[in-house]
Subunit: 124 residues, 2 copies
C-alpha cells in the first residue's frame, strides 16, 4: 500500500519533469524493471533504457501536462486525470488522459498505464 | 479491444443505473464471473451474487454519480472520473473516484476497479 504523500510526490514529479522538459527527472521516478503501456493496448515497454527512449520521444513534441482533477490513491496505485498539451503538425492539440501508476515501497513507479484513445485527441 | 460505443454504453448504463436506484440494471452490465475491487486494495468480490450484494448496499446510501470528465477508452478498458454523491450521517458527501472497467467482446464488464482513498472524501 502506498502513502498519499509518496503518490503525490510521484505525480507532482512527473508533471514537473514534463514542464522542465527533463527526461532524467522522469526516468528517475521509475524502478529499474518498470513497465510503461501508453496507450493501454499497445506493446508494453520494459526497463529503464526503453522508458528513457519513450520519454525522449515524448519530450521532443514539447508536451506539457495539465491536471484535470485530484489524484486518487488506492492500495499500491495512484490514478489521475490530466491533459497532454502539445503541438502536432503546427497545431495546438490536447489529449485527455487518465494515468495509472503502481508504486513500490520506495515510492518508485513499477508500472505505468495510460488510458486514452482517438476520441480523447482534441484541437485546442 | 473494446469499441468506443460499447465502452460508452457501459459507462452510461452504469450512471443511469445509479440515477434510477436500479440494482438489476447495474448487475446486468456485468459478466457472470466478473470481479469488483472497490476501492482498490480491499478484498475482491467475484461473481454476480457478490456483485449484487455490493450494489444493493451501495444503492442503500442513495448514491448518485456525476461525471467529472470524458471517458478514456484504450485496449479492453474504459477509465472515467466521476463524483459519488451521497448522504452519510445526515450530511451531503462527495467522493471523487476514477473507475476502470475491463470489457469483454460482448460489452460486459469482466473487471471493475475503483480508485479512491480517504483524501477523496469531501463534504459538499
Amino acid at each position: 500500500m502506498t502513502s498519499y504523500a509518496a503518490a503525490k510526490a510521484a505525480v507532482d514529479g512527473y508533471i514537473a519533469g514534463f514542464a522542465a522538459g527533463d527526461v532524467d527527472a522522469i526516468v528517475a521516478l521509475y524502478a529499474d524493471d518498470a513497465t510503461v503501456e501508453d496507450p493501454v493496448g499497445i506493446e508494453i515497454k520494459q526497463g529503464i533504457a526503453a522508458i528513457r527512449a519513450f520519454y525522449t520521444m515524448s519530450m521532443a513534441t514539447g508536451a506539457k501536462l495539465a491536471p484535470l482533477g485530484p489524484i486518487r490513491v488506492a492500495g499500491e496505485y495512484v490514478a489521475f486525470p490530466f491533459a497532454v498539451k502539445l503541438e502536432w503538425q503546427g497545431k495546438a492539440q490536447r489529449i485527455e488522459v487518465i494515468d495509472l501508476f503502481r508504486l513500490n515501497a520506495a515510492g518508485k513507479i513499477t508500472e505505468m498505464r495510460a488510458f486514452w484513445g482517438p476520441e480523447n485527441m482534441l484541437s485546442d
